[in-house]
């Protein structure tokens, strides 16, 4: 009798927490879509046609679905990067730079390794090497910031942004100089094409969606497992929730901070790496711009949960992918999407506003990141 009652209340609690987790983001998206529609009306567009275009362009055909998955791949990795850092109490605004570093070094290994060795490598060796090298370089790029945070107290928010500009300047230097595509017709700052042996194969004939997408889903599952089923994951979460308590519990807080940033950077590096090996087959200057902010929005929308991140990445990918069709139908600029995403983020981050508008009672803890500067 009693146990039945208990299990009943447990199911009820789980249902409640699920509806809570889904309801707020859903209402946030809805509110953003409504306000976006009003803005479209103000600038003289047709919101219904615009949104129809978005949906058609992102989900209207097999090809549209494939393209949405292609867009979603880097978003999943980059979103996971920011989400993992959030779990560890760190705010990684530098996914953009880490992504660029990962992409540049993957491209380097992709096109130059066979030249250095003097013979061609089989895919089974060359592709993993390319991906892992890019991933590690992205990780190291972020670990610099992690070490500065752990050992000197330099705040990661400013440092990751500085590292973004350093990455952008350095890659500009490399892509305009020693790594520039040497073909005589090329005037763009980009690397040569990577070798065939360093490329991800596509999943279906004739569609661009590649195995990197499947890898993204696997990595999302892995991150969920890491965070919830391992000691390291427990340490990361504890440091994120309360570094002082973690210290008293005997967790090496400094090491955990560096490791969190390392993993976060590795995920962002993977995003760049997979774009090079799965889609573009080279790195081109400027391709990374905007991913950092998108990744933050995705992580916040997904409530830093790996499954949430995957879903949020899909939403953002669908919007980016559908934007072209929307522009075709309504002549509204693609940049509209950025504003729509900013509005979604605004309402997701400030869920208090959504609760206020729709009269939903607050429950659960607030995200707390601000722990002052320097300290």
């Amino acid at each position: 009798m009693q146990s039945e009652k208990q299990s009943n209340s447990l199911t009820k609690r789980i249902l409640q927490s699920i509806s809570e987790a889904v309801l707020i983001p859903f209402l946030a998206i809805l509110t953003a879509v409504i306000i976006g529609g009003i803005i479209i009306l103000i600038v003289g567009g047709d919101p219904i046609r615009a949104y129809t275009g978005l949906i058609q362009g992102s989900m209207g055909s097999t090809k549209a679905w494939s393209e949405t998955a292609v867009w979603a791949t880097p978003y999943i990795f980059a979103g996971l990067a920011v989400a993992l850092a959030f779990k560890g109490g760190l705010f990684n605004i530098g996914a953009e730079g880490q992504l660029a570093v990962g992409a540049v070094f993957s491209a380097l290994i992709g096109y130059a390794l066979p030249e250095w060795l003097g013979f061609d490598l089989p895919t089974i060796i060359h592709l993993p090497l390319t991906v892992i090298f890019g991933m590690l370089m992205g990780g190291l790029w972020a670990a610099i910031v992690g070490s500065l945070k752990a050992y000197t107290g330099g705040h990661e928010v400013i440092n990751t942004i500085m590292m973004n500009y350093i990455a952008l300047n350095t890659t500009s230097y490399l892509l305009n100089g020693m790594m520039k595509d040497p073909s005589p017709t090329n005037v763009i700052a980009r690397t040569p094409l990577i070798a065939d042996s360093a490329r991800f194969p596509t999943i279906f004939e004739g569609l661009r969606v590649h195995w990197g997408f499947v890898l993204a889903l696997l990595v999302a599952f892995f991150i969920w497992w890491l965070l919830n089923k391992t000691t390291l994951g427990f340490e990361i979460r504890t440091v994120g929730l309360n570094p002082d308590a973690a210290k008293y519990a005997g967790i090496n807080v400094k090491r955990t901070i560096v490791l969190t940033m390392l993993f976060s950077g590795m995920l962002a590096g993977l995003a760049g790496s997979i774009e090079v090996t799965g889609l573009n087959y080279r790195h081109e200057l400027g391709f990374s711009i905007g991913y950092g902010f998108d990744a933050i929005a995705i992580a916040l929308l997904g409530k830093s949960h790996p499954l949430g991140v995957v879903l949020a990445a899909f939403l953002f990918a669908a919007m980016r992918n559908g934007a072209t069709r929307m522009q075709f139908l309504t002549q509204l600029p693609v940049d509209l999407i950025s504003m729509l995403q900013a509005l979604i983020l605004l309402f997701v981050a400030a869920d208090a506003i959504i609760r206020y508008i729709y009269r939903i009672k607050a429950k659960g803890e607030r995200v707390v990141l601000t722990r002052g500067w320097g300290g």
């Binding site: 400013i158 440092n159 500085m162 309504t330 981050a349 990141l369 002052g372």
Partner: protein, 370 residues
């Protein structure tokens, strides 16, 4: 601000200036190089100074503001846009259009910071996330409107970006006129006076920024308003107990901060160059935060730190002038991408606290709950 900090600032500025003098002396006399570096430093430090002041006001009252970048960007856009509308659509003379542009920029900064205030003070959203929302919103909004208003369907400008009313004029300080009689017939003396004069010939926002540094210092440390602001940022509960309205003080200071950031935005599109491009602020909002931290949350300290960043940007600009005379062993100075790293690396170095730790206001970043 202690002696250690100021001497570090002095040292870095001397090194940066020395580097340019060393390279450029075969082409120009040192005095000319130093004065031109100084003039550039003061000019390009303007948005950083104003951004840092914005941060000082917000954080002294207890609100972390990492949205300065976004406030600057949107103010730069709307200020520029305001000028264009006044000049092209309503046919106002350039002078009035520019003045309206500056006003619009300041109001844009205020509006954006009002959003931050609502998010972080009323709704108690994590302040770093609130600031990030401002930054992302600014990128989306300016990017969209910049395309839609000029190239969109039914645009009043019909697919072109019309001419802007121009930029603010340089204010001439008559040093040459006053001292030229002292020089008599010596041309070297006259040239030196002219070179020194150039340092003082700045544009209105640059001069205004320096005045605002000292005004802010006075307001923060010598007035009742300043005392209350600091009390609210250090110990809001105590401030509340003695009858200070914490919420009101924080709102007011965040909006004042937003106006500073708005003026900084006006520097980019109304004082520096009369055009707008997406993402033009290029991280300077964040660098001004570093300046604020290094200046230990004081206006004068933040200004000194902003000058260091200004000097490192002036290094980049002046190195381009002397590109052809850079000696081969210093060839890396030819690479603008490498020299351009200086402010960013300097920021990270300063944040390590090697030059001495700084202490933020005690309640910085903590929402106030009664």
């Amino acid at each position: 601000m202690d002696w250690k900090r100021f001497s570090f600032i002095g040292l870095i500025i001397i090194v940066l200036f020395g580097l340019v003098v060393m390279v450029g002396q075969v082409k120009q006399p040192p005095l000319l190089i130093i004065t031109s570096m100084l003039a550039t430093t003061i000019a390009v430090a303007t948005p950083l100074t104003l951004g840092a002041l914005s941060g000082v006001f917000c954080e002294r009252s207890g609100v972390v503001n990492i949205g300065i970048e976004g406030m600057m960007l949107s103010a730069a856009f709307f200020g520029w846009l305001g000028g264009i509308y006044m000049y092209n659509l309503y046919g106002f003379p350039p002078g009035i259009s520019i003045a309206v542009g500056v006003l619009v920029a300041i109001l844009t900064g205020a509006a954006m910071s009002l959003l931050l205030a609502v998010l972080s003070i009323t709704f108690k959203v994590d302040q770093i996330i609130g600031g990030t929302v401002i930054n992302i919103l600014a990128v989306g909004l300016t990017g969209f409107l910049n395309r839609q208003l000029f190239f969109g369907k039914g645009s009043v400008f019909g697919g072109t970006v019309p001419g802007s009313p121009g930029v603010l004029p340089t204010i001439h300080v008559p040093i040459t006129e006053i001292f030229s009689s002292v020089c008599g017939t010596s041309t070297t003396c006259l040239e030196s006076v002219q070179a020194i004069n150039r340092v003082f010939d700045q544009k209105p926002i640059a001069i205004g920024a320096i005045l605002l540094v000292f005004i802010s210092h006075y307001v923060l440390f010598n007035t009742r308003w300043g005392l209350r602001t600091r009390a609210v940022g250090e110990h809001p509960k105590a401030a509340d107990t003695v009858g200070i309205n914490v919420i009101k003080m924080r709102y007011a200071n965040v909006i004042i901060g937003g106006m500073f950031a708005g003026l900084a935005g006006a520097y980019f599109t109304i004082e520096s160059v009369p055009s707008f491009e997406p993402l033009l602020t290029n991280g300077r909002g964040f660098i001004s935060l570093a300046a604020m931290i290094f200046g230990n949350w004081t206006p004068i300290g933040a200004w000194a730190a902003a000058l260091v960043f200004g000097a490192s940007q002036a290094l980049l600009i002046n190195m381009q002038i002397f590109r052809d005379v850079i000696p081969p062993q210093w060839s890396f100075l030819q690479e603008s991408y490498i020299v351009g790293l200086t402010p960013y690396i300097l920021t990270m170095f300063i944040l390590t606290g090697i030059i001495g730790k700084t202490t933020p206001p005690a309640a910085d970043g903590v929402p106030y709950e009664k």
